[in-house]
């Protein structure tokens, strides 16, 4: 609490960007469009399937861009730029090793079961494939997590607007909550998806000129490389540590992340990214709204193409900001310092907006920032709606009500979910440690999930008891690993080591990656062991849910660009090329 209030005061004094009438005009126009889409869609919301699943009627390019945009919240834009400033181009591994291969995997191999099983949510798939307790475990932890992450995102937005523009924290939180509430209440998932597509274009339109101006300021890519070489050598690394993505990963000591290639590929890539993109209902829900199996499978693949270019939009500004701060530029941009003297990396993008943008595009840039906050929030709210209504309310509270009742429940849940998020935002504002702790707990719960889905989809012998004990064991393994290790230089407590310190990692990121690897492996092993000693489900019940018992979707008759397998190979080739270009 103390830390945040200090930051608020310090930041308030440091920068106050003034908006002109034209900036407000653009902002208001955007809000009009966002709400207008909600109103236009209101008439189409007749059944609960319309509200929660968009009636499975949306074309692939729209669900694809929404798949991308739902995840494009505050963490993405602000956080990726901050990491770009801290770690340089190695941050792109979150995309080129993490997200893209995972998105190809979920599209080509997993969507056939999600979409084909007609499950209405990811927890519901777990119920169909395993049993009630596995679904309950996933549904409840997921619902809680969405509320808290949308609350944290709301809090971050309120704080940022206060810092940048001097807007009142309460005003920003309440207004943005009301707007998101209004458009989801009216148009359900379709409204969220349509707005996500609008937000996607807006985010690109708002940040691209920033990157171009920043690049021009440092003398293009060559000038940036030269400056970042100074930044790297100042910190005792080889000159390419900020501009080469793989070369510095030979040892943890050779790169600012403190990670070596194995931890990167296994921890971030295989466990964390596959875990997120393949099992998180927030994104998978977008694919489930697609209008055909082929469209559902292409949803993540279509998303992957712009996604692989996003490092240039969100990481590059951070790299430019640190290069200018430590090694100069034409315009003399400097990142501000925190009260404790360290650089405030989180302000890289907001500061650059204020530094380069005159009235006009400034309004556009801020609108883009707001759009990213809202799309992140809306993604959480729609996912929460569905999981609450179908997986908790319908499963445990009212089993067989009319469809109209569930549609009504969905609308009420939107209100309720947003109220909870606002509550979480204020909780984050006053009890900083509780939020850190909650995020930690969710990280423990999430780490092993991918093992459960992998075994569930590709090994028909896996049983419900196996899945449940595996998940519980994996979660426990994550907690124990975290409790026994500590990142270099940290004190025991929230950063780890609360059960004593067996091993130290060079960085927090390395610790996270290895926590995930342990959790995944433990879940994988225990699920197999317990499955082998418990009774399997009859094969007839698993048709459409497990790979070996499901017919492959026929795609031979489709044109090449509609064949998920082929598009997947193409996407992988492109991302390989990007890795090689920035090796």
């Amino acid at each position: 609490m103390e830390r945040y209030s200090r930051e608020r005061q310090g930041a308030n004094a440091a920068l106050n960007i003034q908006l002109a009438w034209i900036d407000y005009l653009l902002l208001i126009l955007y809000l009009v469009f966002v709400l207008g889409i909600g109103f236009l869609l209101k008439r189409q919301m007749e059944t609960s399937a319309d509200f929660f699943l968009s009636g499975r009627s949306i074309p692939a390019w729209i669900t694809g861009l929404a798949f991308l945009s739902a995840n494009l919240g505050a963490q993405e834009v602000i956080g990726m730029a901050a990491s770009g400033a801290k770690y340089g181009i190695a941050t792109s591994h979150f995309y080129w090793v993490g997200a893209i291969p995972a998105m190809v995997f979920v599209g080509v191999f997993m969507i056939p079961f999600y979409y084909g099983s007609r499950a209405r949510s990811v927890p519901e798939y777990l119920k169909l494939r395993f049993d009630e307790k596995t679904r309950g475990f996933n549904a409840i932890s997921f619902a809680a997590m969405t509320v808290f992450s949308s609350g944290i995102s709301m809090y971050a937005m309120g704080l940022l607007l206060q810092t940048l523009l001097g807007w009142d924290f309460n005003f920003s939180v309440l207004v943005s909550a009301l707007i998101v509430l209004a458009y989801i209440f009216l148009g359900g998932l379709t409204s969220a998806i349509y707005n996500e597509v609008l937000q996607f274009f807006l985010i690109v339109a708002g940040f691209l000129p920033l990157v171009l101006l920043g690049l021009k300021d440092v003398g293009g890519w060559a000038g940036l490389q030269e400056r970042l070489a100074t930044v790297a050598t100042n910190r005792g690394f080889a000159s390419g540590a900020f501009t080469e993505s793989w070369t510095p990963l030979t040892s943890p000591a050779a790169n600012p992340m403190g990670v070596e290639w194995f931890g990167m590929v296994m921890g971030l890539g295989f466990v964390l990214s596959f875990g997120y993109w393949c099992t998180d209902f927030l994104v998978v829900q977008r694919a489930m709204a697609a209008n055909s199996m082929s469209a559902a499978r292409r949803t993540p693949l279509i998303a992957a193409i712009p996604k692989m270019l996003f490092p240039f939009l969100v990481i590059l500004p951070g790299m430019i900001a640190i290069a200018m701060t430590e090694s100069g530029s034409l315009s003399g941009f400097k990142l501000p310092a925190k009260p404790d003297g360290s650089l405030n990396y989180d302000l890289a993008i907001p500061m650059m907006l204020g530094h380069y943008f005159p009235p006009g595009v400034l309004g556009l840039g801020l609108t883009a920032l707001l759009a990213s906050f809202m799309s992140g929030m809306a993604g959480n709210v729609t996912a929460f709606n569905t999981v609450w209504t179908y997986d908790i309310y319908q499963a445990y509270i009212r089993r067989s009500a009319s469809d109209a009742h569930y549609l009504w429940m969905g609308r009420m849940t939107t209100v309720f979910g947003i109220l909870l998020s606002v509550g979480a935002a204020y909780m984050a504002a006053s009890f900083n440690n509780i939020m850190d702790m909650l995020q930690l707990v969710f990280a423990f719960v999430n780490a092993p999930l991918f093992a459960t889905f992998l075994l569930g989809m590709f090994w028909r012998r896996a049983t419900g008891h196996g899945a449940f004990t595996g998940l519980a064991a994996g979660t426990a393994a994550a907690a124990v690993h975290h409790g026994l290790t500590l990142p270099h230089g940290a004190a025991a407590g929230i950063k780890g080591g609360w059960m004593g310190t067996l091993a130290a990692y060079p960085s927090e990121m390395a610790q996270n990656f290895w926590t995930a690897i342990w959790a995944w492996s433990c879940c994988f092993a225990i699920t197999i062991l317990v499955s082998l000693v418990t009774r399997p489900r009859p094969q007839e019940e698993l048709r459409g849910l497990v790979c070996s018992l499901t017919e492959r979707p026929a795609e031979g008759h489709l044109p090449w660009h509609q064949r998920p397998g082929l598009v997947g190979v193409l996407v992988m080739a492109l991302v390989l090329l990007l890795n090689l270009l920035f090796w």
């Binding site: 955007y30 349509y194 597509v197 609008l198 339109a205 943008f357 005159p358 595009v361």
Partner: protein, 66 residues
């Protein structure tokens, strides 16, 4: 679906483009000292206008059946 999403997106981009372009062409040069002497409003406004127009054209072309 009843609503072609390209319509609102195209409309919004065209509007944003027109506003920025108009403002860029009428505003003074010293406004652009920040943006390294480049009139970003006029330039980027033009780009947005073109993107908006393309979106609207695509939505129009897809229309006949509706």
């Amino acid at each position: 679906m009843g609503l072609d999403i390209r319509l609102p997106i195209g409309l919004m981009f065209a509007l944003f483009g027109l506003i920025l372009l108009g403002f860029g062409l009428t505003s003074g040069e010293d406004l652009y000292r920040k943006s390294l002497g480049i009139n970003v409003n006029a330039l980027w406004g033009g780009v947005l206008l073109v993107v908006g127009a393309v979106m609207l054209a695509l939505a129009r072309r897809a229309k006949p059946d509706a």
